[in-house]
């Protein structure tokens, strides 16, 4: 029982985190059919900037966190302009490689500027634990799913209720018609990359107090989040969020009951099976065959 609860707590926390990062993939993919494969590195960038702003520059977290997220957004925009757009314009798929290379570059640039030592981004929410059904939970672990779902809902609200948000949805649903409404689709694509990176950076800040901050902390997050985005089907935000929870829970349950050495093998095998069963993802819409 304790085992199960521990697994559930861990799974929900991680799952919401994967979902949040995966939303970033979903957003850019919906808008532009491209993704930023440096997404994992942006998770790291968010955490590193948070650390630098708070611990080295002594900023208040109320300033430091939003600033870190904004910087990540700027980086996302840079990725779009430098590493995605030039290739998309030439009808090349090399943006895939270029964003991967961008991630390698960022990881190593951080390694040399930030340092090679793991550091801690302290949070008052990891100083004590709440005891609950035989296991302990950091308040931060409770905050993460709440924050993730909150961000997802806020995004939903942003998309449905603000003009710019709806403009983004319009680009997703019909790019050409959106241009005819006067929407600058190029700017929207940039914006979606910025938003995507802000989600990743925010996720990095949320997760950092539970982990340590170092230059390659994001790689696996990026990869798992991509798996989640694919599992969710890439098209629906709620599907991706849900897939995040499913992935997180399955991962935690597998680790708990089979041991972590088989986690990747079992989880990825299940992923392949799931995609065999539903080639467009669990919650994706099958692409209409156009003849």
């Amino acid at each position: 029982m304790t085992l199960l609860i521990a697994a559930l707590v861990s799974g929900i926390g991680l799952g919401s985190m994967y979902g949040l990062i995966a939303l970033g993939f979903q957003i850019t993919y919906s808008v532009s059919q491209t993704v930023n494969f440096a997404q994992g590195s942006v998770v790291m960038l968010g955490a590193v900037l948070g650390y630098v702003f708070i611990e080295r520059l002594g900023m208040n977290w109320m300033i430091a966190y939003p600033l870190a997220v904004l910087c990540c957004g700027g980086f996302g925009m840079l990725v779009e302009v430098l590493l995605v757009r030039p290739f998309v314009e030439r009808n090349s798929e090399a943006w895939l490689m270029a964003t991967v290379a961008g991630g390698i570059f960022l990881d190593n640039a951080v390694l040399f500027t930030f340092g090679n030592e793991p550091r801690t981004l302290a949070s008052s929410l990891t100083q004590s634990t709440w005891q609950f059904a035989g296991t302990g939970i950091y308040p931060q672990q409770v905050l993460i799913p709440i924050a993730a779902v909150g961000v997802a809902l806020a995004l939903h609200f942003l998309f449905r209720k603000t003009l710019q948000g709806r403009a983004l949805l319009a680009v997703v649903q019909n790019g050409q018609a959106a241009r005819l409404m006067g929407i600058n689709t190029t700017a929207m694509v940039s914006g979606s990359f910025a938003l995507s990176a802000m989600l990743a950076g925010g996720a990095g800040l949320l997760i950092a107090p539970l982990l340590s901050v170092h230059s390659d902390m994001g790689t696996l997050f990026g990869l798992k989040a991509f798996a989640v985005a694919i599992l969710g089907g890439m098209t629906s935000a709620s599907g991706v969020m849900l897939a995040g929870f499913i992935y997180g829970l399955v991962e935690a349950l597998v680790t708990t009951y089979f041991g972590s050495s088989s986690t990747y093998i079992i989880v990825f095998a299940l992923l392949i099976l799931a995609l065999t069963w539903k080639p467009d993802g669990l919650f994706g819409r099958p692409a209409v065959k156009k003849v």
């Binding site: 697994a7 302990g136 340590s212 708990t256």
Partner: protein, 394 residues
């Protein structure tokens, strides 16, 4: 077929220029022979960058000292570094490049056990001495080669596992320890060593749990160990993952005796793990202790060479620095003794050098064909963190 006549011409030209370009690139660096080159193959980027840096620092100090005293064979020592990215393939390529293109007299390095394993057969075949200042995999030095060119100035997993098992039994009287190990070659090597140590004593383990270096949460694994009745834990992982174990234990409210390999010494462990990190006892081959003359001198030199160093917290892992420093001293002594940079001669000299004053200890007779490890269990120290400083236990 106008074009087919044109094409081979093009290709020929391309090929020629390629060949010329390649050979220029290849031949350029190999010429200068007014230094004695020592090659370093280690993980300088990625997760292990910190440890790679420690090795580089130890070697740099040693080389500076040696060169200040006239070098070896009348020539200064030059360090040539290569990044292996923890990938054995890249490590082997780098080792070959250092030996066959740079013409190094000896190799130092191999942070990760598999990288060392990849280099071992090549080093033996090429007859180039290879000194390991880090990787603790038992089979690296005990590789079964007739002419063994592999030496080590570092801990050996099998001995470490023996030592930490003994430590838990002696100090806590444990009966059923559990293992929580990082899922990498190092973890696997210690799984073998610890299992062997327990079998030797007729003890059973509460379980062997692995975790990944980026796992946020180790509670599931620890809970399994707890439910299986573990009365103590062996921890084998680097600094950040070990901190994850401590934090997970904290959350579970499980206070259990802990003994660890040297992983936590690699950085600001207590910053990451919190106050509870002080409960973890781990093994060291060397640590900077206040008031120790040799250590203070070394620290001063490090500060001079690397201005970014402020406190002893900045010179972690001390073990890496000390091992690398001593490796270099031993190697330089052997080269001097051999009177040449010829591999077999250096190897022979390695067995002959005596009473070398190192940082860890004075090496009376560091190597023999039966024991290519300069450091043994008697040199291990148990330590723990207190106020951010590594202090010997007791």
């Amino acid at each position: 077929m106008r074009t087919s006549r044109f094409l081979p011409q093009m290709t020929r030209r391309a090929l020629m220029s390629g060949v010329v370009g390649l050979s220029v690139a290849i031949s350029l660096p190999a010429l200068a022979a007014d230094t004695v080159k020592i090659g370093l193959v280690a993980a300088l980027s990625g997760q292990s960058a910190k440890s790679g840096q420690a090795i580089t620092r130890g070697l740099t100090i040693a080389i500076d000292e040696i060169n200040a005293n006239g070098g070896v064979l009348g020539k200064p020592i030059e360090l040539v570094s290569r990044d292996d990215e923890s990938n054995p393939g890249k490590g082997l390529v780098a080792a070959r490049e250092l030996v066959q293109r740079e013409g190094v007299a000896a190799l130092i390095g191999g942070l990760d056990t598999p990288v060392s394993f990849a280099i071992v057969p090549f080093a033996n075949q090429a007859k180039v001495p290879f000194v390991g200042p880090w990787a603790a995999g038992t089979g690296i030095t005990k590789n079964g080669a007739e002419e063994n060119y592999i030496f080590r100035v570092s801990a050996v997993d099998e001995y470490v596992d023996e030592a930490i098992t003994e430590y838990l039994i002696a100090n806590h009287g444990v009966k059923k320890p559990g293992m929580i190990l990082i899922n990498n070659p190092w973890g696997e090597s210690n799984e073998k060593g610890l299992t062997k140590a327990l079998e030797k004593r007729g003890m059973e383990t509460a379980g062997i749990e692995k975790f990944e270096s980026n796992d946020v949460d180790v509670v599931p694994q620890l809970t399994r160990l707890k439910e299986n009745g573990a009365d103590s834990l062996f921890v084998v992982a680097n600094v950040a993952p070990t901190a994850q174990v401590i934090k997970s234990l904290d959350r579970m409210g499980w206070d259990v005796p802990l003994a660890s390999h040297w992983g936590p010494a690699g950085g600001r462990f207590t910053e990451l793990a919190g106050k509870s990190g002080e409960k973890l006892h781990f093994i060291q081959t060397y640590l900077f202790v206040e008031g120790d003359e040799k250590g203070d001198a070394m620290f001063a030199k490090l500060q001079a060479a690397f201005p970014e160093i402020e406190t002893t917290a900045d010179v972690t892992p001390a073990t890496g620095i000390a091992n690398a420093y001593d490796s270099m001293l031993l190697l330089a002594a052997a080269i001097e003794k051999a009177g040449s940079t010829d591999g077999p001669a250096i190897r022979q000299a390695m067995y002959e050098i005596e009473n070398i004053e190192g940082l860890i200890k004075t090496y009376a007779d560091p190597f023999s064909p039966d024991n290519q490890d300069a450091i043994g269990p008697e040199d291990y120290v148990f330590a723990h963190f207190v106020e951010g400083q590594i202090i010997p236990v007791k």
